[in-house]
């Protein structure tokens, strides 16, 4: 394990747990749903190896059953967003049976409208933020378009943090040495006063011994 990855793993162990990260993503989709007055909103994570999108957070319709579910990224609106890195706003899907099937398979219902934006970090598309069925009788405005872009930029940062932490946690589980160092770091962090100072001295001495060639 490289020093950088070990540091990330140790840092992750003292960060908020997976539950807090799930809460963060869920609050983002709930806010997206609220500001666009939409029926549902979701964040999907792109799994490049499988070429699939996986639901990570869902608000509104489907929130009770979709998290963890996957669908192919090789077609459809979300697929286009992943491949192009561009946003797509469909005000009314019309009568396209293909569209209906695609969306119904991934959400459990057929929306009239769909906004999908890429969540991009460091030149990579991490996933897709979708907002389903904003009020159909109101025209989509330039202001909403700007808002959607800004919101997606924020969601991308959150998804990046959550996924990095998840990757670090997975590393800890796979590496016993890293897990030991992480446990020691957490233990030191919980100590106070003289006990903490003693622990720090002990670790400094250990560092000297281990660092001596």
């Amino acid at each position: 394990m490289s020093g950088e990855r070990l540091r990330a793993a140790v840092a992750a162990s003292s960060l908020a747990g997976a539950g807090a990260h799930d809460d963060l993503l869920r609050s983002i989709v709930e806010t997206a749903r609220a500001i666009f007055r939409a029926r549902a909103s979701s964040i999907t994570l792109y799994d490049e190896e499988a070429d699939q999108l996986e639901f990570r957070a869902v608000a509104g319709e489907g929130s009770d059953r979709l998290v963890g579910r996957r669908f192919p990224a090789s077609e459809g609106v979300a697929g286009w967003v992943v491949r192009s890195g561009e946003a797509m706003v469909i005000d009314d899907v019309g009568a396209d049976p293909r569209f209906s099937r695609e969306v119904a398979e991934s959400t459990g219902y057929v929306p009239r409208g769909l906004m999908a934006v890429p969540l991009v970090r460091e030149e990579r598309v991490l996933g897709v933020l979708s907002v389903l069925d904003r009020p159909a009788d109101e025209r989509f405005t330039a202001a909403e378009m700007q808002l959607l872009g800004r919101f997606a930029s924020q969601a991308a940062i959150a998804l990046d943090i959550v996924e990095s932490a998840r990757g670090a946690r997975a590393l800890l589980e796979a590496d016993a040495d890293a897990a030991l160092v992480a446990r020691v770091a957490v233990a030191l962090d919980t100590l106070q006063g003289e006990r903490r100072e003693a622990g720090r001295r002990l670790l400094a001495a250990l560092e000297d011994v281990l660092g001596d060639p």
């Binding site: 792109y46 490049e48 070429d51 990224a73 090789s74 077609e75 459809g76 609106v77 697929g79 286009w80 992943v82 491949r83 192009s84 890195g85 561009e86 946003a87 797509m88 706003v89 469909i90 005000d91 009314d92 899907v93 019309g94 009568a95 396209d96 049976p97 293909r98 569209f99 934006v117 890429p118 991009v120 030149e123 990579r124 598309v125 025209r139 989509f140 405005t141 330039a142 378009m145 700007q146 959607l148 872009g149 800004r150 997606a152 930029s153």
Partner: protein, 275 residues
């Protein structure tokens, strides 16, 4: 590539012996009627660089030629004839919007999305390079790449298109990230306005987005012979490609910078001062 070989550029000029150049027709009062009135786009070749175009959609009309960028046996991007059509709908929608404005243009498709997972930009680069070699009058690019290593080759291709009078009409990204080629000055960069007139354009004095075309609440063809209503810079770009096709059909001698001048001249937000 043989087409990359060119004579030495002219760096010095004899004022007395300067070649006469037939200038473009240019009115004292530029308006939309002069720019594109009566034009149907006849004679103009438009390339849709996208996810492919569904070949048999009645609202898209004939697709003269369809190619795709795919990896060859060694993994290098190569251009092959394409029979896949469009797996996503996006290219079909763009082609349909262009056709709706300019019914007599020739539409050709270069598919650069579909095979590659998470667009690497490599296919886009190869497809654009190929399209510029073909000398299309208008290249619709409702796409961009965030890959920094592609900026130099993309800019080289965009400049080549500019000097060869191929207009690249490129979609601005609507998020807070840097992508190309729409940020280059040699292309026509397009954002969305929410007006209802598909031939109305606005000029932006604060680039990199130079122009806005109608991009909201548009009716457009989609997969399976159907239609949808959609919004976004992609579709503003397709409208702008249609407008540029109309201008180029009516005024075929205009160079790309002159087409930009015409767009500025017809922009709904530019006030004229009396001369």
């Amino acid at each position: 590539m043989s087409s990359d070989r060119e004579p030495l550029p002219a760096h010095a000029l004899s004022a007395a012996a300067v070649d006469r150049v037939a200038g473009s027709e240019w009115p004292a009062d530029m308006d939309r009627e002069w720019a594109l009135g009566g034009s149907t786009g006849a004679g103009v070749r438009v390339c849709v660089l996208d996810s492919g175009v569904q070949p048999d959609h009645s609202d898209v009309g004939p697709v003269e030629r369809a190619v795709a960028v795919e990896p060859d046996a060694e993994g290098f991007a190569t251009v092959v004839d394409d029979t896949t059509g469009d797996a996503y709908g996006h290219g079909t929608a763009c082609a349909g919007l262009i056709r709706a404005l300019a019914p007599d243009v020739t539409v050709e498709s270069v598919r650069v999305l579909g095979q590659e997972k998470r667009g690497s930009g490599g296919a886009m680069l190869a497809g654009l390079s190929w399209a510029v070699e073909q000398g299309y009058d208008v290249i619709n690019m409702s796409l961009s790449s965030t890959k920094r290593e592609l900026t130099a080759p993309l800019q080289e291709i965009a400049d080549k298109a500019y000097f060869r009078r191929s207009l690249i009409v490129a979609s601005a990204h609507n998020m807070a990230l840097k992508s190309w080629p729409w940020r280059f000055s040699s292309v026509i960069s397009v954002g969305s306005h929410d007006g209802l007139d598909s031939t109305e354009v606005f000029y932006n004095p604060s680039p990199p987005v130079e122009f806005f075309a109608r991009g909201m609440d548009l009716d457009m063809p989609w997969l399976g012979g159907t239609r949808i209503r959609a919004s976004g810079n992609s579709f503003a770009t397709a409208n702008m490609s249609g407008i540029c096709a109309l201008i180029r059909a009516k005024h075929p001698d205009l160079a790309p910078f002159e087409v930009k001048g015409v767009l500025l001249g017809i922009a709904g937000n530019v006030e004229r001062r009396a001369g």
